[in-house]
Point group: C2
Chain length 144, copies 2
């Protein structure tokens, strides 16, 4: 079982794509920083200052303004995330995020899925609120 | 198993409480309309114009600026939702939402929990974005 989250953002696909791949933008809605521009094959370091956390992702595939596939971790072994952008018209794009790799035999499988869903919905809300309204301080509000 | 979602909102508890109970406010972040002010014992009709949907809730308990307990439906038989507000200081409140009543023996139990989590996280994002930034058009973005 995978987690699938779909959201409507009233912006061109290119703007949404750039929000992820351009390291000057990610801090407005998700991680605090991204070590460099996301490109196929690269390993990127993501930092989250608020939680004093750091992690790496491996970029598996990039299709400009359409698709980003990455794995959590330095290799392609971790959970795989696929971000797809479908531009309905110039100012209306559907973003779909799929995270795969959950193990149904793990005792806390259901908790993992729910926590993961929580994270994606909140990130997408922050992304929409940043791109559509310029709000950059919504993030960091979830309490575990 | 229940769904618990906790969020930080940089507003006094009273403002957050009023956003739910005052029918002139709910349309800014959640349902399109609420038939009347939420008070203990009342049955309230909630409408969601975008989805052409209507539902009723039964208000079970109200503690001004602190707690709202309601059941989905006209009686107290449905899932029960408890909204708790804890004011950390004047402009910093923790809102916790618990939904109870999921049946672990239902075949789509996990999907129900995940869908439900998606709904609460998005509603809370819209609420935060409304109260802190005056953004009232974030809602309606989730696609099933």
């Amino acid at each position: 079982m995978n987690n699938v989250t779909k959201f409507k953002i009233f912006k061109p696909a290119k703007e949404i794509f750039e929000a992820f791949v351009d390291p000057s933008k990610i801090g407005k809605f998700w991680f605090s920083s991204s070590s460099e521009r996301w490109e196929e094959g690269k390993v990127i370091t993501l930092k989250y200052d608020l939680y004093n956390a750091e992690g790496k992702i491996k970029i598996i595939e990039i299709q400009d303004n359409k698709k980003i596939v990455f794995a959590w971790g330095e290799t392609e072994e971790g959970h795989v995330v696929t971000i797809s952008l479908t531009e309905i018209d110039h100012n209306n794009t559907i973003i779909e995020i799929i995270e795969e790799g959950f193990n149904e035999n793990t005792p806390d499988f259901v908790h993992q899925l729910i926590d993961n869903k929580e994270g994606w919905v909140f990130m997408l809300s922050c992304l929409k609120s940043y791109l559509e309204f310029g709000v950059t301080t919504l993030r960091g509000a979830l309490i575990k």
